[in-house]
C-alpha cells in the first residue's frame, strides 16, 4: 500500500514536470440544473523527456458532486482516454491521471477536451419561494482552470438559463450579453490557483432528480425481455412556501413557473406494452408516442411537482429478445443499457440494477462500461420456477446522461432446460386428469351401500322387462299383419303357422318376464306388482289378439257378415288400444 502510494506520487510529479496549459477555453453550462464544465486545453510539453500521461484536477468544493468526467482528443471520433484516480501530495481536491494513446515528445503540443458534469451544485437561493415567485440559484466555482500545470492563457464562458442575473463576480471585468457571461482572458496563471466565482441568477428549468431508481431486467429465452423501473422522483429546487393555489396555477401561465408538470421518457424503439403506474394503480395522465427510432412516453405525475415535492412511480415495458440477446451454441450474451433515459439532463442519486437471467444460467460474467458496485447475487422465483433464477445486483450513485451505456452479460445456458417449464405444465395436467380418472373409476367407499346396489339391480331388471314387453307388443303387431295378409290371401296355413310362432314366442317372452318379476320380488322391490299387473293386462291383450284372429277366420269362412266383422273389429281394436295405453303408463312408471 505504502509503496504504491509513493509510486503514484512519483508518477504524478513526473507527469507534472514540464507540461504547460498553453491555451484553455472553459465553458460552464449552467442552463439546466446541472453544472457541465468543459475545458478545451492545449497541452505543451516543455520538459526534456517524453510524457505518457497528464493529471486532471478538481476543486475540493466541487469534487464530491462530480457525476461524470471524460477526456477526449481533439477530433470527434477520438476515443476517450482512460482515467485513473490518483492523489497529489499537498494539494486538496480530486485528481485523475489520463493515459495518452501515444507519448508526447518534448516540445510537442496536444489538444484535449475535458468534460465534467456536477450534480446538485446549483443551490436555490432563496431556499423557499411562493408559488408566484421565480426560482433563483447560486453557483459557486472557480474563475480559473484548476490544474497542476501553469496556464499561459485562458478564457471562461458561462452560459446561464435566463437573462435575469442578480449578481456575478466581476473578476477581470467580464462581459455579459443575454444569457452568457465571459471572463478572461487571464494570462499566466500559476498551478492550483483558485478564485471564487459566484453567480446568482434565475433558473426555472426543472430541478428534478431521481433519488433512487431500481431497474429490473428479466430475460426470458422465450423471446421477451421485461424491463421495469421503479423511480423516486424529487423536485430539488427551492421549496414551495405557503399555499398551493390551483386557481392561480390554472389561470396564470407564470404561476409556479419552476414546477414540473410533465417530462418525456425515451424508451427503445421496440418497447411494447408500456405501463406507468404506482402503488394505487394506473396513472392515467400519460401519453405514448411511437416514433421511428424510439418510443416516447410523456410522463405526467399525478400532481405537478413543486419544490420539495416528491413522487414515486413505476414504468415498465417489454422488449423482443432478438435485439438484445446473442448466442453461439450454449453461450449467450445480453447487451443492453445499464441505465436508460428518464428525462433530459437527468440526475440519478442512487441506481440499483437487477438483471434476472433465465433459470439454469451458469458461468455468469458481467462487463460494465464503468465501475459499478456488485452486490451479492440473489435468486428470483416467478412463474413455473423450481430452483430459482440468478439475479445480478449492482448499485451506483450519482449518475447522469453520460452514463447511458451498454452493459454486456455473458452466460451459458443449456437449451434443454427450456423444455422444463412446458413439461411441468403437461405433468401437472396429467396428474390432475389421472386423479380424476382414478377417482371416478374406482370405488373408495369403506362400506358397501346395499340400498344402492339393490337399486342398480332393480334398474337393470326393469330395463330388461321394458325391452321384453315392447318385444311382446311387437309380436301382436306382427300378428296383425299376418291376419291382414290372411284376409287377402285366405291362406289358412300361413295364418296357423303365424299363430303358432306367436304362441311360442309369446310363451317364452312371458316366461322370461315372469322370471324377471320373481327376481324383482326377491329384491323386495314394489315394481314386481306393477310387472304382475302388466302381465295380467297382457293376458287380456293376447286374448283380444286371438279373438280378432278368430273373427278374421270366421269372416274368411263366411260365418259372419262383413259389417258385423267390421263392428266387432272396431270394438276389439278399441279395447286393445285401451289396454296398450294402460300398459304404456305402467311402463312409464317403471
Amino acid at each position: 500500500m505504502q509503496r504504491s502510494l509513493i509510486a503514484c506520487f512519483f508518477r504524478a510529479s513526473l507527469c507534472a514536470e514540464g507540461l504547460v496549459n498553453e491555451d484553455v477555453k472553459r465553458t460552464l453550462d449552467l442552463s439546466s440544473h446541472l453544472a457541465k464544465i468543459t475545458a478545451e486545453i492545449q497541452l505543451a510539453n516543455h520538459g526534456a523527456s517524453r510524457v505518457n500521461g497528464f493529471t486532471l484536477a478538481l476543486e475540493a468544493e466541487l469534487a464530491p458532486h462530480l457525476a461524470f468526467i471524460g477526456v477526449k482528443g481533439e477530433e470527434e471520433e477520438d476515443e476517450s482516454l482512460e482515467l485513473k484516480e490518483t492523489t497529489v501530495h499537498g494539494q486538496s481536491g480530486k485528481f485523475f491521471e489520463a493515459q495518452l494513446p501515444s507519448s508526447l515528445a518534448p516540445g510537442a503540443k496536444l489538444r484535449v477536451k475535458v468534460e465534467t458534469v456536477f450534480s446538485h451544485v446549483l443551490k436555490p437561493f432563496p431556499t423557499h419561494i411562493t408559488q408566484a415567485e421565480r426560482q433563483l440559484v447560486v453557483f459557486q466555482g472557480n474563475h480559473y482552470l484548476y490544474s497542476p500545470y501553469p496556464t499561459r492563457s485562458q478564457t471562461t464562458r458561462v452560459r446561464l438559463a435566463s437573462k435575469t442575473v442578480e449578481s456575478y463576480t466581476k473578476l477581470g471585468n467580464p462581459t455579459k450579453s443575454d444569457e452568457t457571461v465571459e471572463y478572461g482572458p487571464f494570462k499566466d496563471v500559476p498551478p492550483f490557483s483558485q478564485d471564487a466565482m459566484k453567480i446568482h441568477y434565475e433558473n426555472n428549468t426543472p430541478f428534478l432528480s431521481i433519488s433512487s431508481i431500481t431497474r429490473t431486467v428479466e430475460v426470458s429465452h422465450w423471446g421477451n425481455i421485461a424491463v421495469e423501473e421503479t423511480i423516486d422522483l424529487r423536485h430539488t429546487g427551492a421549496y414551495l412556501k405557503g399555499p398551493f393555489s390551483r386557481y392561480d396555477y390554472q389561470r396564470q401561465s407564470d404561476s409556479g413557473i419552476s414546477s414540473v408538470k410533465s417530462f418525456k421518457t425515451i424508451l427503445p424503439a421496440s418497447a411494447q406494452d408500456v405501463y406507468y403506474r404506482d402503488e394505487i394503480g394506473n396513472i392515467s395522465t400519460s401519453h405514448l408516442q411511437v416514433l421511428d427510432d424510439s418510443v416516447e412516453v410523456e410522463i405526467r405525475p399525478r400532481f405537478p411537482l413543486f419544490g420539495g415535492w416528491k413522487t414515486h412511480y413505476i414504468v415498465g415495458y417489454n422488449l423482443p429478445s432478438y435485439e438484445y440477446l446473442y448466442n453461439l451454441g450454449d453461450q449467450y450474451a445480453l447487451k443492453l443499457r445499464l441505465v436508460d433515459h428518464v428525462y433530459d439532463d437527468q440526475v440519478i442519486d442512487q441506481l440499483t440494477v437487477k438483471l434476472i437471467l433465465p433459470e439454469g444460467a451458469r458461468n455468469i460474467h458481467m462487463d460494465t462500461p464503468y465501475p459499478i458496485t456488485r452486490s451479492q447475487d440473489e435468486l428470483h422465483y416467478t412463474y413455473l420456477d423450481t430452483f430459482g433464477r440468478p439475479v445480478l445486483v449492482a448499485t451506483k450513485n450519482n449518475l447522469v446522461e453520460q452514463h447511458i451505456q451498454d452493459v454486456v452479460v455473458h452466460y451459458t445456458f443449456n437449451k434443454i432446460l427450456m423444455l422444463q417449464e412446458p413439461l411441468l405444465v403437461v405433468g401437472a395436467f396429467y396428474i390432475l386428469f389421472f386423479t380424476v380418472i382414478i377417482y371416478v373409476r374406482l370405488d373408495f367407499s369403506i362400506t358397501k351401500d346395499p340400498a344402492a346396489e339393490v337399486r342398480m339391480k332393480v334398474a337393470s331388471i326393469t330395463e330388461q322387462v321394458l325391452t321384453l314387453v315392447n318385444k311382446r307388443l311387437g309380436l301382436y303387431r306382427h300378428m296383425d299383419e299376418v291376419v291382414n295378409r290372411y284376409k287377402q290371401t285366405r291362406d289358412t296355413g300361413a295364418l296357423n303357422s303365424g299363430r303358432k310362432t306367436l304362441e311360442a314366442e309369446h310363451r317364452t317372452l312371458s316366461n322370461d318376464i315372469s322370471a324377471l318379476q320373481a327376481r324383482l320380488k326377491s329384491e323386495g322391490s314394489d315394481l314386481a306388482e306393477k310387472v304382475g299387473e302388466i302381465q295380467k293386462l297382457d293376458n287380456q291383450l293376447k286374448d283380444l289378439v286371438c279373438r280378432s284372429c278368430q273373427e278374421a277366420e270366421r269372416l274368411v269362412a263366411g260365418k259372419v257378415k262383413k259389417d258385423t266383422y267390421i263392428d266387432s273389429d272396431k270394438t276389439l281394436s278399441g279395447k286393445r288400444q285401451e289396454l296398450v295405453s294402460r300398459i304404456d303408463s305402467l311402463l312409464d312408471a317403471l
Binding site: F244, Y247, G281, R302, K310, T311, L384
Partner: protein, 704 residues
C-alpha cells in the same frame, strides 16, 4: 352408463360455462379502467389483507391500527370478520408457494368473480337437492349473471358479500343434505361451512335463524324424524362452538337475542324427542301429567329468556332513525323498481317456483319456502339485503322454468322411441304447436334476461367510483383521476404521521391510498367522534379551529363537485353532517340555522348566513368565486347545484390551501400552526404562568 357419463359431462360443461360467464361479465370495470379496488369498504379490506399478507396471520389478529380513529385507534383483529382477508391471503400464499407471483391486489380484485363461480356451483348443488339436475343447472346459470348478485361481486369489489353468498348457499346445501340423510358427516360439513360464513359476514345471523325456523316449522308440520334430530342437534352445538371462535363474534351467540331462536328451537327439539321417547314407555295418564308439567316449565323458561334481552331483533330496525345509519344510501327501503332492475324476469317467475315447491312439499322444500319468504321480507326492509334474496329467487325461478320446460319439451323426447315401436300409441299432433310457442316464449324471456343482466352490469355496477370517466362528443373518454391525484399527493408530500380530517366516507380511502391517519372512517362505531368532525365542518372557522386543534388535525380533506358537476360531494352531504353533529351537540349546531327562512338549503346569496360562513362552505368555495367556468355563467357558478355562490370573498385565517386536484374535486387544506405568541409583559407573564401549561386535550369541553 354412457348416458349418465354424457349427462355428467354436459352438467360439467354447463357449470363450467356458467362460471366462465359469471367471471367474465364481472370484468367490465377491469377492462374499462384497470385492476383496482372499488368504492370505500373494499379499500379497508384490501389494506387489512395487505397487512395480513405482509405481516402474517397472528400479527393481523393482534393488529392495532393507530392510523384510524385518531386518537382512539382501532383494534382491527377484534373488530372485523376476517374470513375475506384470510381467504385472499391464503390464496396469495398458496400461489406464491407455487411461484405464481401474483400481486395481492390482483388476488383481491379477482376474488369476488372467482367466488361467484363457486356460488353458482353451490346453487346448482342446492337446487339439485331440492328439485332436479336440470333445475340446478338453470339456477347456476341464473345466479352467475343475475345483477342482484353482480352488484356486490364485480371485479374490484373486494367485500365480505362476495364470498359470503357462496358460504351461505353452500351451508344451506349441506344443511339440506344433512336433513335428507341424517348423517353426521354432512352436518359437520354444514358446521364448517357455517363457520366460514360466520368468519366472513355478519349476515350469518340469517342462517342461524333460518335453520331453526326450518326445524320449528317441520316440528309443527309433524315432520319430526330422527334425521332432523341428528342434523339439528349436531349443527347447533358444533356450529355454536365454532362460531364463537371468531374474535369479533365472541360470546354473542349465547348472549344476544338474535341467536336465542336457535337455542330455543334446540331445547324444543330435545323436549320433543324426549316426549317421543317417553310416549312409547308411559301410560296415557302419566304422559299427560308429565306433558303439562313440562309445558309449564318450558313456558316459564321461555318467558324469562324473552324478558331478559333488552332488544328484540325487530327493534334493531328502529335504529334506522339514527342519522348516521339513515345517511347510508344502501340502508334505505327497497323500491319496486330495484326489485325488477336487479332480478328482472326472475322476480315474476319465482312465485311459480315457490308454488311448485309447496305443491310437492317435502322436508327440504319447506326449507326453501321459508328461505324465500324471509328473504323477501328482509329485501323489502333494506336495499342491501336484496343480496340474500337473489340466490333463492334464482333457485325458485329455475324450478319454475325447469318444470315448464320439462312439461313442454321433455315428454316428447321420452316417448319418441315407443312411438316407432308400436302403432297403437296415439300421437298428440295438436299440442306440438302450443309446445313450440310456449318453449319459444320461455326462451325469449331467458334471452331478454341475459341481455338485461349484461346491460345492468355494464351500466350500473361496473364503475370503480375511485376513477371517474366522462365522454366527449366524439366518444373519446376523459378520465378524471382527481381522487387518486389528491390521495397520492397526501401519501408523497405530507408528513408520515400527519392527521387528516375528512367526512367519514373517505376514511378508508385515505387510509388505503394516502396511508395517512384519519379521524373517522367508514367503520362508524363511534358516533360522538363523527359528530365532532361534523361539528367542525359545520361551525365557523374559529370555532372549527379550536376543535381541530384539540384533535391535532394537520390537514382537512373535502370533496367538491362544483367545477365538474359531481353530485356526490360534501356540500350535498352537508346536511347529514349537520344532523349528526346536532344529535351530539344540540346547543351549538341546529339544523334549522342552515336553511333559509323558507326552509330551503341554498348556497347562493339567499342562503342562510350560518351556512355561508361555516367551514365546509368556505373550504369548498375558497377562491371559487373568481373562477368563471364558461361565458354563459357568472364567475363562481356551481355546476352541481346550478347556483351562483353567495359568498365569493372567502378568506381563511387558520387554514391554507395545501392542494387542490386538477378538476377541483378534492381540496386539501393545511391547518396552520399557531403563530408565535406576542412577547408578554413581565407582569402579565407572572399571572398567566399557572394556567398556560395545562394541556388543551384535558379540557375539550371548553371548546364545545
Amino acid at each position: 352408463a354412457s348416458v349418465s357419463g354424457f349427462l355428467s359431462l354436459l352438467s360439467f360443461t354447463i357449470l363450467f360455462l356458467a362460471w366462465l360467464a359469471g367471471f367474465s361479465s364481472r370484468l367490465f370495470a377491469v377492462i374499462r379502467f384497470e385492476s383496482i379496488i372499488h368504492e370505500f369498504d373494499p379499500w379497508f379490506n384490501y389494506r387489512s389483507t395487505h397487512h395480513l399478507s405482509t405481516n402474517g396471520f397472528y400479527e393481523f389478529l393482534n393488529w392495532f391500527d393507530e392510523r384510524a380513529w385518531y386518537p382512539l385507534g382501532r383494534i382491527v383483529g377484534g373488530t372485523v370478520y376476517p374470513g375475506l382477508m384470510v381467504t385472499a391471503g391464503l390464496i396469495h400464499y398458496i400461489l406464491n408457494l407455487l411461484h405464481v407471483t401474483v400481486h395481492i391486489r390482483d388476488v383481491c380484485v379477482f376474488l369476488a368473480p372467482v367466488f361467484s363461480g363457486l356460488t353458482a356451483v353451490s346453487t346448482f348443488l342446492l337446487t339439485r337437492e331440492l328439485w332436479n339436475q336440470g333445475a340446478g343447472l338453470l339456477a347456476a346459470c341464473f345466479i352467475a349473471i343475475v345483477p342482484g348478485y353482480i352488484s356486490r361481486s364485480v371485479a374490484g369489489s373486494f367485500d365480505n358479500e362476495g364470498i359470503a353468498i357462496f358460504a351461505l348457499q353452500f351451508t344451506y346445501y349441506l344443511w339440506v343434505k344433512s336433513v335428507k340423510t341424517g348423517s353426521v358427516f354432512w352436518t359437520i360439513g354444514c358446521c364448517l361451512s357455517y363457520f366460514y360464513m360466520v368468519s366472513a359476514w355478519g349476515g350469518y345471523v340469517f342462517i342461524i335463524n333460518l335453520i331453526p325456523l326450518h326445524v320449528f316449522v317441520l316440528l309443527l308440520m309433524q315432520r319430526f324424524s330422527r334425521r332432523l334430530y341428528i342434523a339439528y342437534s349436531t349443527f347447533y352445538i358444533v356450529g355454536l362452538v365454532l362460531s364463537m371462535q371468531i374474535p369479533f363474534v365472541g360470546f354473542q351467540p349465547i348472549r344476544t337475542s338474535e341467536h336465542m331462536a336457535a337455542a330455543g328451537v334446540f331445547a324444543l327439539l330435545q323436549a320433543y324427542a324426549f316426549l317421543q321417547y317417553l310416549k312409547d314407555r308411559l301410560t296415557r295418564q302419566e304422559f299427560q301429567t308429565l306433558f303439562f308439567l313440562g309445558v309449564s316449565l318450558a313456558a316459564g323458561v321461555v318467558f324469562l329468556t324473552l324478558t331478559k334481552p333488552s332488544l328484540p331483533p325487530l327493534l334493531r330496525y328502529a335504529k334506522i332513525h339514527i342519522p348516521i345509519i339513515a345517511s347510508v344510501s344502501e340502508h334505505q327501503p327497497t323500491t319496486w323498481v330495484s326489485f325488477f332492475f336487479d332480478l328482472h324476469i326472475l322476480v315474476c317467475t319465482f312465485p311459480a317456483g315457490l308454488w311448485f315447491c309447496i305443491k310437492n312439499i317435502n322436508d327440504e322444500r319447506v326449507f326453501v319456502a321459508l328461505y324465500a319468504i324471509s328473504a323477501v321480507y328482509f329485501a323489502g326492509v333494506m336495499v342491501r339485503l336484496m343480496l340474500t334474496l337473489t340466490p333463492v329467487v334464482c333457485m325458485l325461478s329455475a324450478i319454475a322454468f325447469s318444470s315448464v320446460f320439462e312439461h313442454y319439451l321433455g315428454d316428447d323426447m321420452k316417448r319418441e322411441n315407443p312411438i316407432k315401436q308400436h302403432p297403437f300409441y296415439p300421437v298428440k299432433n295438436s299440442s306440438v304447436y302450443s309446445k313450440l310457442i310456449v318453449t319459444m316464449l320461455m326462451l325469449m324471456l331467458l334471452m331478454m334476461f341475459a341481455v338485461h343482466c349484461t346491460w345492468v352490469t355494464s351500466n350500473a355496477y361496473s364503475s370503480p367510483s375511485v376513477v371517474l370517466a366522462s365522454y366527449n362528443h366524439d366518444g373519446s373518454r376523459n378520465i378524471l383521476d382527481d381522487f387518486r391525484e389528491a390521495y397520492y399527493w397526501l401519501r408523497q408530500n405530507t408528513d408520515e404521521h400527519a392527521r387528516v380530517m375528512s367526512w367519514w366516507d373517505y376514511g378508508y380511502q385515505i387510509a388505503g391510498m394516502a396511508n395517512r391517519t384519519t379521524l373517522v372512517d367508514n367503520n362508524t362505531w363511534n358516533n360522538s367522534h363523527i359528530a365532532l368532525v361534523g361539528k367542525a365542518m359545520s361551525s365557523n372557522e374559529s370555532a372549527a379551529y379550536e376543535i381541530m386543534k384539540s384533535l391535532d388535525v394537520d390537514y382537512v380533506l373535502i370533496i367538491f363537485g362544483g367545477v365538474i358537476g359531481y353530485s356526490g360531494d360534501d356540500i350535498n352531504k352537508f346536511l347529514w353532517m349537520v344532523r349528526i353533529a346536532e344529535g351530539e351537540h344540540p346547543k351549538d349546531i341546529r339544523e334549522s340555522d342552515y336553511f333559509t327562512p323558507q326552509g330551503e338549503f341554498r348556497v347562493d346569496k339567499a342562503g342562510s348566513p350560518t351556512l355561508l360562513n361555516c367551514l365546509m362552505y368556505k373550504m369548498s368555495y375558497y377562491r371559487f368565486g373568481e373562477m368563471q367556468l364558461d361565458f354563459r355563467t357568472p364567475p363562481g357558478f356551481d355546476r352541481t347545484r346550478n347556483a351562483e355562490i353567495g359568498n365569493k370573498d372567502i378568506r381563511l385565517k387558520h387554514l391554507e390551501e395545501a392542494f387542490t386536484s386538477e378538476h377541483w374535486l378534492v381540496r386539501i387544506y393545511r391547518v396552520k400552526k399557531q403563530e408565535n405568541r406576542q412577547a408578554l409583559d413581565h407582569k402579565l407573564r407572572n399571572i398567566a404562568a399557572k394556567q398556560k401549561y395545562t394541556s388543551k386535550k384535558v379540557l375539550p369541553s371548553r371548546f364545545h
